[in-house]
């Protein structure tokens, strides 16, 4: 069977996959989406007074955009969406452990209450 670049790759042909893989068109659209989010991120620097992220909203808005890019690459480009769930669990084990350990560390150093250092 000859596949063209527009056909999904059958899961039966792929090691560990449980769903058919998307093809090039989906990857290009995903990259365009990621580029658009990056432009938005840079706009927060260029226009810091824009109402959507003015004042205290800047950090939450940046964190949300970062998370969207992070999980888009993880699920589409790294194929977690199509692979066996065990791979998602393996990666999340490390990710969650890292987040918890370092949140505890930052809290120990009172980074959330900078005024308490003085």
């Amino acid at each position: 069977m000859t596949l063209t670049s527009h056909d999904p790759i059958p899961a039966s042909n792929l090691d560990g996959a449980v769903e058919d893989y998307s093809r090039d068109k989906v990857y290009v659209l995903t990259a365009l989406f990621l580029a658009a989010v990056t432009v938005l991120e840079v706009l927060t620097y260029a226009y810091p007074d824009f109402p959507v992220w003015a004042d205290n909203l800047l950090i939450p808005v940046l964190m949300i955009m970062m998370a969207v890019k992070f999980f888009t690459v993880l699920y589409i480009f790294m194929h977690l969406k199509f692979d066996k769930p065990i791979l998602t669990w393996v990666f999340y084990a490390g990710l969650v452990l890292a987040v918890l350990v370092y949140l505890a560390m930052l809290s120990t150093f009172r980074i959330w209450w900078p005024e308490s250092h003085s």
């Binding site: 810091p48 970062m66 480009f77 194929h79 065990i86 990710l95």
Partner: protein, 210 residues
């Protein structure tokens, strides 16, 4: 020489008759140990980069020397980030190319990925050079040490990725990367995408958060 050519021809002949599908792995998970191992390695890398990013956050306010606001060139770093992001697209297109047996495009996309990665590294070297000229050495402040360690470690990861990509191009040119071995490209791709997601985090937390 003649023997080497014969060996290469025999590998090509064996590959030509190999099934296009991946080899069925007789493991408890049904996934090859190499792929599972790479995901475990990437999970452990979260702890490495988590530690470096946390250290940077703790030391972000320098007691002496230039501050991040004074020294960072956001438009330049944004361009570098965009270049690295696009390298993820070329990498995933390379994986797609080998899975459908298109070796010429595989080499083109892997070459493009390596080139984009090298452009990112060149940008990082230029950025470091400018920072040092402006008085931000590795030992200038706790901020500078944390910053150079974090971004330097990431740069080393990108450089290792480029070496792996060039090895794939060489393997492909020598006919040792047929489509039934596409998992090799996929695993290098996983590493490359992880380096990209780490930079997504660094770009937001180090450069953009005021």
């Amino acid at each position: 020489m003649a023997e080497a050519l014969t060996a290469r021809e025999s590998i090509k002949a064996a590959d030509a008759h190999a099934p296009s599908a991946h080899i069925e792995h007789d493991t408890n998970t049904g996934i090859s140990n190499t792929k599972l191992g790479m995901w475990l390695f990437l999970a452990s890398e979260c702890l490495l980069f988590g530690g470096l990013i946390t250290t940077y956050l703790l030391y972000k306010r320098p007691l002496e020397g230039p501050t991040p606001e004074e020294i960072f060139d956001i438009p330049f770093t944004s361009t570098s980030s965009f270049v690295l992001l696009m390298s993820s697209l070329t990498m995933v297109l390379a994986v797609s190319a080998i899975e459908r047996g298109d070796h010429e495009r595989l080499r083109i996309w892997i070459g493009a990925t390596a080139l984009l990665g090298a452009t990112f590294i060149a940008g990082q070297i230029y950025e470091f050079t400018v920072f040092v000229r402006e008085g931000l050495g590795f030992t200038t402040s706790r901020f500078s040490s944390a910053f150079y360690t974090l971004t330097g470690f990431h740069g080393v990861h990108v450089t290792i990725g480029i070496i792996m990509l060039m090895s794939l191009v060489l393997l492909s040119l020598r006919g040792k990367l047929p489509e039934h071995r596409s998992e090799t490209v996929e695993i290098v791709g996983l590493y490359w995408h992880f380096v990209d997601v780490v930079w997504i985090f660094i770009f937001a937390v180090v450069y953009l958060v005021p």
